[in-house]
């Protein structure tokens, strides 16, 4: 029974839903809820990025650019022009998707390090623009963002709400909302992976030439997944902005892009549950290291380096392989 459960393609989704439902039982203050919400936001972002990096095998070192564009579109439109948050973040995602579509075609012709270079450059241009256009974005100091109002409800981490007769704090409400977003995000990604599009993407990862020989329109599929991952980033960027209530250009910066890619690689490229794990780890790690004060940066670099050296395939796939080996050995011993 356990076997059939682990093999069904949506079993990962069920497991994820159970984890999301159980986590609040272990949290006991608003700060911890907010950290958990942050994990969910980053997790959903990198589930999208994983489609590009893990499945299609294309490097992006500028993905925070899309995250930042979504965040700033929501921030500027809702605060300066009084637009309603939900339509704004959807329109923002559509625009970011369009931008990704336009730059994607020429950029994705590049391979390996050149693709890394081009995406890095794209991210930097977005970051520099956000920094310099202070009249619109507040410059390096950042800008405040209004709360997320849905159907007239303003969802703020400072309020409490009653829902079906239960009292729910704003922090918890945000947690549930982002939990639903993550499940939706994983569900869409899973469906994409298991569709003909997903098979085409994996063939691109395996060998682009072989893929095009058997008739896969590789530029089209690469561009499609680039747009999809940009839309994930933009939506989550918008939600991040509303959740934090404040945004700075750093959220579109180079380090943020690197952290996104690291979440994917550290968790395990091509493993949806793995990258969620990676997102959780890299979001919480700075919190854990904060106690080391001056040594924080050094420790962070060291941990990054060591995990990648000793587990180049990522934490989850390495652990899975380890467990499988153990189980295999046990079965052999019995026989």
């Amino acid at each position: 029974m356990l076997k059939s459960l682990t093999q069904h393609r949506l079993s990962g989704l069920a497991l994820l839903a159970i984890i999301i439902l159980l986590v609040p039982a272990f949290l006991n203050n608003p700060f911890q809820y907010d950290m958990a919400t942050l994990v969910l936001i980053y997790a959903t972002t990198v589930v999208g990025l994983n489609l590009l990096v893990g499945y299609a095998g294309q490097i992006s070192l500028g993905h925070a650019g899309f995250f930042g564009m979504g965040a700033y579109f929501s921030a500027v439109m809702t605060s300066r022009f009084d637009w309603s948050p939900v339509p704004t973040l959807i329109l923002g995602a559509a625009l970011v998707g369009l931008v990704a579509y336009i730059v994607g075609r020429p950029i994705l012709r590049l391979k390996g390090y050149y693709l890394g270079m081009a995406t890095l450059a794209m991210g930097f241009i977005i970051y520099i623009t956000l920094n310099n256009e202070g009249w619109l974005t507040g410059g390096p100091d950042g800008m405040p963002v209004p709360g997320l109002s849905i159907f007239g409800w303003e969802l703020s981490t400072f309020n409490t709400y009653s829902f079906l007769g239960m009292e729910i704090s704003g922090s918890l409400a945000w947690y549930w909302l982002m939990g639903v977003m993550l499940i939706l995000g994983v569900w869409i990604a899973q469906n994409l992976i298991d569709s003909p599009i997903g098979r085409a993407l994996r063939s691109v990862h395996g060998s682009e030439v072989a893929a095009s020989v058997v008739g896969v329109d590789t530029p089209k599929f690469k561009n499609l997944v680039f747009v999809v991952s940009a839309i994930y980033a933009s939506l989550m960027g918008s939600l991040y902005a509303h959740f934090q209530g404040f945004i700075t250009p750093e959220s579109a910066g180079f380090m943020e892009s690197i952290i996104f890619v690291t979440m994917v690689v550290l968790g395990g490229m091509g493993s949806t549950l793995g990258v969620i794990f990676g997102a959780a780890l890299l979001t919480l790690l700075p919190q854990l290291l904060a106690d080391f004060h001056d040594y924080e940066m050094m420790m962070f670099g060291l941990i990054l380096m060591l995990t990648m050296i000793f587990m180049p395939k990522g934490l989850l796939p390495t652990t899975q392989a380890f467990i499988r080996k153990k189980l295999h050995k046990k079965a052999e011993d019995k026989a």
Partner: protein, 291 residues
């Protein structure tokens, strides 16, 4: 009008020569191991910071410089031995993250040792600028361009005339074949990192009097070096020099004529444009992809 242009040109060549040295460091390591070393900028930081602090301890400038270069060289070897060599079979993305982890680690140590402040280094020879055709030129410019030229000439000699240089070239062309003719490819990899670290630290030292130095200058300088290397074409020594100078001049002209806020954006814009039309940079090898 013309003097203004000349002024920007000199600024561009100075910073461009530095970028060229960083790009050459990238090229050396890339050729030997197909790794893009995102910790390259940290060699510059170590070069500048160690020199400043050794001068602070009372050592004369040349001694301080040698000390800083030795420190960076040690770091280069350590990076290869302890971070790159154990991860031989890793994906390019994984290697990128390892070198970035190394960069953050080094930066973290530098921040512990030297703090977060900016440090200045005196010019090598006096603060009285020289006037050329109406442009005011800092004396350090001559040191930067001169030392960069000497280093490039030295590298050309090293790779074409010495046995060790030829061994590195052979390894970069075909590692297995190089090992078959008796080249110790492991040593070659270490040597490439060492040379790259020496180049980087010298670049960091000569540019420090112009730009100031602090624990975090390595990020941007390293990235610019990567842009320069990709602009010229990864793996091409000539490309690194052309890419570096082009990048420096584009930046200086943008800062002078358009806006200094967007000089970095211009550098990144140029690389995207060039890659659109020449996907392997200006002088990259036109290799046929093997299936």
């Amino acid at each position: 009008m013309f003097s203004e242009f000349l002024q920007y040109l000199f600024t561009g060549i100075t910073i461009g020569a530095t970028y060229a040295l960083i790009a050459l460091g990238f090229t050396l390591i890339y050729n030997a191991s197909h790794v893009i070393n995102f910790a390259q900028g940290e060699f510059l930081m170590i070069g500048g910071m160690a020199t400043v602090s050794l001068i602070g301890l009372g050592f004369p400038l040349p001694v301080a410089m040698v000390g800083a270069i030795l420190l960076a060289a040690l770091m280069g070897i350590a990076l290869q031995r302890f971070a790159i060599a154990p991860a031989k079979q890793a994906d390019p993305v994984t290697l990128i993250i390892i070198t970035i982890g190394a960069a953050i680690f080094i930066r973290g140590i530098a921040q512990l040792v030297w703090g977060r402040g900016y440090h200045s280094m005196p010019n090598f020879s006096g603060d009285v600028p020289v006037r050329i055709g109406g442009a005011v030129v800092n004396t350090q410019t001559f040191w930067v361009v001169g030392i960069a030229a000497v280093l490039v000439a030295g590298l050309v000699f090293f790779f074409t005339k010495t046995m060790i240089g030829k061994a590195i070239l052979a390894t970069s062309m075909n590692k297995v074949a190089a090992r078959l003719v008796g080249i110790k490819t492991d040593m070659v990899l270490m040597l490439a990192f060492l040379l790259s670290a020496v180049l980087g630290s010298i670049a960091g030292i000569i540019v420090a009097p112009i730009t100031f130095t602090s624990y975090d200058i390595g990020i941007m300088l390293g990235l610019k070096g990567f842009v320069a290397a990709a602009l010229g074409g990864l793996g091409s020594g000539m490309g690194a020099i052309v890419g570096g100078l082009t990048l420096g001049i584009v930046e200086a002209m943008t800062a002078g004529y358009i806006s200094s806020d967007y000089k970095d954006a211009a550098a990144f814009g140029v690389i995207i444009l060039v890659l659109f039309f020449m996907p392997r940079g200006l002088m990259g090898a036109r290799v046929v992809e093997r299936v």
